[in-house]
Point group: C2
């Protein structure tokens, strides 16, 4: 039954990495993250979307300040609470996918008048920590301001398993399975994705005659952008149709096909620049996603409220009018660049719109020159740029090469966040400690939690779990006192804790279904949803509000048949459900 | 017009110092504060009160953990959101008294279905801090879970002024002006209450024919309990009818008349013990307050969920069976006491009710004896008492006397919180610094904020305000650089920053209205509201939704007349409106 007014088209506004509260103590920039989040909410309202979907790092910190929480709640309350009818239903058992005590999607609570539902996963900044494994998203979820999904409690040690239940959504004739995986440490998720049966992707158990669209929202470093680390798209299950990739701040929002995997990836990028690098200087966008049947259309919408950010790179050696023996010429040259950039911003800002002081960053290769005082240089621009204190960033060609090998994103930029993190982690291996109950990786995680998320219980939780684990049958019990401490040294778990870089797999085991290459196209506007019924034929008729596990990998070739009956837990299945 | 079913009786449940999140990392006790808060909410439901009134320190910390916020919001959501009709109205201009961006009482937001409104002030633990002056209550207020009132932004320096607007409530024929003053540092509030015109108590400007009941909720150390510091009841305005005193943890909940002041004080006490002292070992209660016309009835309701707490004091010298030369006899004696206390708790716990491990504290005067290891002593009680690590608290008679002089509550107990605070504050005076722009008191406040509230911006905010103040006309401007720092030394503000202990005033200036002594009685159950119309006669008819300032102190004697017309700002007025 097609309903009136295109009501089989599910409209979703997608944004990620809003980093609410970023620089909330900087007088000039403290409202930036909120301004843009408010713009995003107003775009959701303007485009009459069914819901807003957020890909993690909604908050810049796991423990946002009171002020940040208040501002965030105020914005959500203004935009989400209204009389507009919600025109989609969640068919799946809600408590399986939504992490809140009330076990339901927020707009179904009859005590609230919610017109704009928000679905969100956590990111790397605002993930769950502490004894109760609480994310800042949980606060919003408890207050019924958003639907937090993709939260898993993996524990601290060993190989983890997780089961991912989708939020299964229906609007008219369109069905969407929305999978969420909030940030997990990259190495850990890699290990899990490489391990059979570690991630169970649950499929909705559903009536025969329908087909649906599969979306995964995740928040990880993307191997494509950081070849030396991050998670590869190729480890994701092939039954997906669209992957929304949070964490990477560069806006690569147009969905791009991953060859051989049968899905597209959109990387919306952050809505605020948190590093003054080239990738962040590009225009910021959000994505309007319209899904009809199993086809989708994506429209990128530029964000207007983002603070202007101009970035250039210069090599002093290459400049004819700069004299190494005369510092004044360096100053003059760099000042001229800054002035030009400020002028450029002024010209391009639409008249009538609010003029925010721009961010300006010049990456200066000063090889063969002496460095100049960056803070002093910037004093001239107080009140003219938003970051007078760090306009200049000096590198040497040599350093640049070295850094590129160590930790760079795909643009040869050093990600200072990464450098900090690596320094922390480097501390432990250097001590040559033999840790056998306390696993290095997990100790690293705890240290991370402690430093980055200010989680004073990180070590406590970790220690407790490690000791509990060590007490399991088959391992020597831990006894109290000095003698007992000798017993702490067992090597039983070391095989699980290999520090090896996970292999970037082109997934040869799964080549049985690689014929799917190219089967996904970006759907034409308003395209029909034909083609779904055929391959779906023969599925068992069951209650929509239940799930079955995805078929085992080995069964992929026969997936269309196997799927009819519940099967044993498997890694995931490449679901074939469209005609070649 | 009397409405059906006693609907002119305003029913309020009063609680204070819930300290949500107290000991949230203690495995045994982490849920205590939430259990009791949930009981309080369920009592509000059971007794069908019109609203719940909280007297500060709802949270134990200004920056509660995510887990604490989530648990709190979940409780409020379960009890406050329902279909029960709210049967009172707020007649006053709501934005004047309620601190939230939406400027209205929470149950009037048509997007929320609120059946149990909550009104709350902040306390000393959860007060506003940071650049935006945000309390943890602001988070709940932004999320529409409570009505936060009594918040004032006094700035950091100098004599402060504040205007207190009541929430003016009507239920049937009953009118209540609810004043709130969230915690202000005791010395500062004392200074303000002693200074003419520093506190403006606004009166509702109201139709002639009605009279109303005046309540003040405040959260301060009470001079009566701590004679050397705290705020005296006698500095409060005489027009009040009932003062609800938060902060003091001892339950002295039965309203007590303050002679000569014409009002009663109820001190509900905390709903959780945060110090193991005698005052906290007494049974905890909340207050059911029923107001009809200008009379009220109070009923104390015992809290059942509070963890049992047994407290005894022993003097070893006085015990015949304890031998100073034989430590074993000390152990045996103390163990016997603990066993008896545990047994006592077991016997008195109602069968069928959940048995929480008790708190046990023995204050041991060990003069003439040697101390024993308290932690070791407690090991025997792991799993039997909730605080095995600190059952014993050793004092010497000499020490006890010394402490009593320095910082004790009225029971001769050392308040360890106070001791901590005094240590911090003692740091600065000892350095003999000459601070003339940076005022000692306010530097103390900032240090307090920084240490106790984890407010990393405390010094920044304070410094900014001090410097701004120093830049005012009539003072030497601050210039940058080394030379300029000489100019920081001006003595202009020192007179405002007197460190003198405020005089406990019996308020001779106000004796003109002391004839009111005894005019307040605790109303008989169901008592009428007679006697109100006469003195109220002649009041100007105006819009109910506006305020006028309370008459000047000098006008007190003529208050009943003066009140008819708006008057110049005054300190406060003793409103005479009942027949002798």
């Amino acid at each position: 039954m097609e309903e009136e007014g295109g009501s089989s088209t599910l409209r979703v506004l997608v944004a990620t990495d809003c980093h609410l509260g970023y620089l909330d103590k900087d007088e000039e920039r403290r409202f930036d993250s909120f301004d843009t989040f408010e713009e995003i909410c107003s775009l959701a309202e303007k485009h009459k979307v069914d819901f807003l979907l957020l890909g993690g790092d909604l908050f810049h910190e796991n423990k946002p300040s009171n002020s940040t929480l208040v501002k965030t709640i105020e914005i959500l309350r203004r935009y989400c609470m209204n009389d507009r009818p919600v025109q989609f239903q969640v068919l799946s058992y809600q408590a399986a996918s939504l992490q809140n005590r009330f076990g339901q999607v927020n707009y179904e609570d009859s005590n609230y008048n919610i017109g704009l539902p928000v679905f969100a996963i956590h990111g790397s900044h605002d993930g769950p920590t502490g004894v109760d494994n609480m994310s800042s998203n949980d606060i919003l979820s408890a207050g019924n301001f958003l639907n937090y999904f993709g939260k898993t409690d993996l524990g601290c040690t060993g190989i983890s398993k997780t089961t991912v239940y989708p939020v299964f959504i229906r609007k008219g004739k369109t069905y969407v399975a929305l999978y969420g995986v909030g940030n997990i440490k990259d190495e850990r998720l890699n290990r899990m994705l490489n391990e059979p049966h570690a991630v169970n992707w649950m499929l909705p158990e559903i009536r025969d005659e329908i087909d649906w669209f599969n979306i995964l929202v995740l928040h990880q470093k993307r191997k494509k952008a950081s070849p030396s680390s991050g998670v590869s798209e190729r480890l994701l299950p092939r039954f997906l149709d669209l992957v929304i990739w949070g964490h990477e701040h560069e806006c690569l929002i147009d969905p791009e096909e991953v060859s051989g995997m049968g899905f597209h990836v959109t990387q919306p990028g952050s809505s605020i620049a948190t590093s003054l690098i080239n990738a962040e200087a590009k225009p910021k966008h959000v994505l309007l996603l319209e899904i009809k049947g199993t086809q989708y259309r994506s429209t990128k919408i530029p964000l207007q409220s983002v603070r202007p950010f101009e970035y250039v790179e210069v090599v002093l050696e290459d400049q004819v009018d700069v004299d190494p023996s005369d510092e004044a010429t360096i100053h003059a040259y760099l000042h001229k660049i800054v002035s030009n950039l400020i002028e450029k911003v002024r010209e391009t800002t639409a008249s009538g719109s609010e003029l925010k002081l721009p961010l300006v960053r010049i990456k200066v290769d000063y090889s063969g020159f002496s460095i100049i005082n960056s803070k002093q240089f910037g004093q001239k621009y107080v009140g003219k740029v938003a970051n007078p204190q760090d306009i200049l960033h000096f590198t040497k060609s040599g350093e640049r090469c070295k850094n590129t090998q160590e930790s760079t994103n795909s643009f040869g930029e050093v990600d200072t966040n990464d450098l900090n993190k690596q320094t922390i982690e480097a501390l432990i291996p250097e001590t040559n400690l033999q840790l056998e109950i306390l696993h290095l990786n997990d100790l690293n995680s705890a240290l991370h939690e402690f430093v980055n998320n200010d989680d004073s219980m990180a070590f406590h939780s970790y220690l407790k779990q490690s000791i509990d684990e060590a007490r399991e049958p088959g391992k020597k019990p831990i006894t109290k006192g000095r003698q007992g401490s000798q017993n702490l040294l067992t090597g039983a778990l070391s095989v699980l804790e290999s520090d090896d870089e996970p292999i970037e797999s082109s997934d040869p085991e799964e080549s049985g279904s690689s014929q799917q290459t190219g089967r996904k196209r970006r759907a034409a506007p308003g395209g029909g949803d034909g083609g779904s019924a055929a391959s779906a034929a023969g599925r068992r008729k069951t209650d929509l509000a239940s799930f079955q596990r995805a078929p085992k990998k080995e069964d992929d070739a026969d997936a269309s048949k196997e799927r009819r009956t519940p099967v044993a837990p498997g890694r995931y299945g490449a679901v074939i459900r469209r005609r070649g």
